[in-house]
């Protein structure tokens, strides 16, 4: 199986879906002539032309709304936000238009569109460029929210998102674009939205995680294995609708859970995971669930402070040992 980067996996997904369906188009800042701010859309302008790969002015609210309008009348837009930090400006369109159109119109206007872009922290980009938005978006009925952590999941979930007749949020990661993994050379690689994946199997504890933290969780699994501790790594892949069964199946088996995410604590995605666990697995737990997340601060610039703010393998290992009542 070919080993490709997460970036190339997304590029394949975009290309294949645009080849498959003439209604699909990509719109955003620098997606065309610049070949993509992070090169995710490299080569697409050359192949599909400027009507289907559209450079926009810096107008997140405006072009998100343009996508909504195009979707209402039968096209299938992919709206790229250069990062999800800038998408705050567009939230009126994502939340008040895209998420609500089907319901408000009594079922007449569904919104077959994708909003995608890099989410969360990179390196030393400071407070305004380092935020993880899954929680805000997963809050909204009418949206689907996916957060692929590997190249295979990136390709499969983006393709599913593009084919889905609902508005789907795709949360990528600048730090993920260069990561590599096996991705089948197949135009029908589709990963179902709403299905988590058990990326590692073990017996002592479960780590439930998503997005960038998936790689961290797998590193944690590898390191702990050397100490004779084996863990389940449940990669949510989809935040909304969350695969509750995958979570509960794992926790019922291991009886101990750690929820690992890159976002903030209060009302974060992890808080929802914990609620599902306490609701469904109360009698199965041998310890309270422990969460690992970003410190409750805006992201600082200084390298050491940023490192201290972010969740990492060491913190996750400590959390696993805590739920196991070790050290």
């Amino acid at each position: 199986m070919p080993v490709i980067t997460y970036r190339d996996a997304l590029n394949q997904a975009l290309r294949e879906e645009m080849q498959r369906d003439d209604r699909v188009f990509l719109m955003g800042e620098e997606v065309a002539v610049y070949q993509g701010a992070y090169k995710v859309s490299k080569g697409l302008l050359q192949e599909f032309g400027e009507m289907r790969v559209v450079d926009t002015p810096i107008t997140e609210l405006g072009f998100a709304g343009v996508g909504v309008g195009a979707a209402m009348v039968g096209l299938r837009p992919i709206i790229e936000f250069m990062t999800w930090n800038f998408a705050l400006l567009a939230l009126d369109q994502v939340v008040n238009s895209a998420a609500k159109m089907l319901y408000m119109s009594g079922g007449q206007y569904n919104m077959p569109m994708v909003f995608r872009g890099p989410n969360g922290a990179a390196l030393q980009l400071s407070a305004q460029h380092s935020q993880a938005w899954e929680s805000w978006l997963a809050y909204i009925p009418g949206l689907k929210v996916v957060a692929p952590g590997t190249p295979y999941d990136a390709k499969g979930l983006l393709k599913s998102a593009i084919r889905d007749d609902n508005p789907v949020i795709v949360l990528e990661g600048e730090m993920l674009y260069n990561t590599k993994g096996e991705v089948p050379d197949d135009h029908e690689v589709l990963i179902p939205i709403g299905k988590a994946e058990l990326k590692r199997e073990g017996e002592h504890a479960s780590i439930i995680t998503h997005g960038k933290m998936v790689l961290t969780a797998m590193q944690v699994a590898d390191q702990l294995a050397k100490q004779g501790i084996t863990i389940d790594v449940v990669d949510l892949r989809t935040i909304r609708p969350m695969d509750i069964e995958a979570i509960t199946t794992s926790v019922r088996k291991t009886n101990r859970a750690v929820v690992l995410e890159e976002g903030w604590e209060v009302c974060g995605v992890g808080a929802q995971v914990v609620d599902y666990i306490q609701r469904e697995c109360f009698d199965d737990l041998d310890a309270p669930v422990v969460r690992v997340h970003q410190a409750d601060v805006p992201m600082p610039y200084a390298k050491n402070l940023e490192r201290a703010a972010k969740p990492d393998a060491a913190k996750a290992i400590a959390a696993v040992k805590k739920v196991m009542y070790l050290e």
Partner: protein
Amino acid sequence: MAKKKSDNSPATDVETRRDLLRSMLLQRRFEERCAEAYALGKIGGFCHLYIGQEACGTGAISVLRPDDYIITTYRDHGQALARGMAPRSIMAELFGRIDGVVRGKGGSMHLFDRNVNFLGGHGIVGGHVPIATGVGFAIKYRGGDQVCVCFMGESVVNTGAFHEALNMAALWKLPCVFIIENNRYGMGTALERASSIHDIYNRAASYDMPRGVVDGQDVMTVRAAVQEAVDRARTESLPTLLEVRTYRFMGHSMSDAVSGTYRTKEELEEYLKRDPIIVLRTQLQQEGQLTDDDFTKLDEELKAVVQDAWDFADQSPEPPLEALFEDVLVDTTSDAHAEAAVAAD
């Protein structure tokens, strides 16, 4: 409403004007009953009436084709009726019943009808304007010659969304007609207190966009101005910004006083003299094309239509509780083969 191809023969001109009068009067009688229904508690939430502004929507929509698109604000009852949506379906929606045009899920502010390309009914001031640009983009993408008409209040022109949407419509040369229904007050705030310029159609200069201003109380004037803008959009794929100067005879919504707070009774009374229905009726009567009797008969007929809509709405059941969870998401995906081709109109 019967649509006649516009030509210059007096006979069709009279017919057209009769149709326009009929449409405006239907809207007027409908909105008056809405006020009554609201007071009785049959309509809840927000209810923004179109009384006084009928010529704007009616004149504009009268020049459109069935395959053109319309998008508007929450003050949408008049435009919906002008577009031919059934009074019964609209009233049932306002009463929150299952036979409402959006099955009781939207209410007054969110009338949608795919059959006549009426794209809503939107509640966030300015939020629908980028959507209109997107519809224009889709028309161009498909190589069609439809147009998208976007109604908005005058307060919209100060929003960021308006700026972004019009910039892109001009930049990309999209077939949009942006129509400002300037009723001089953004809720309780007069235009002069909100806007650094008062001839707001001149905002189009920022985008090098064709623009104009027109008397919104004369339906024929509105019609001619919109026709020109629609022709420009359809044949040259260029957008226009039109300011239509009008006045609302009721408050901003049913929760707002008619006058005496932020606008005077005297001002209202001046504007009442230019009631668009009276303006057109007078024209037709002076030409000998309409008698008092004709008007009375028309009025009785339309009042009966509205009463029928009321009765229908009253008898329509509330939505079943299962409807609460319907239409949040669809469970479909795009079809691999059948719809892969882009339809060029």
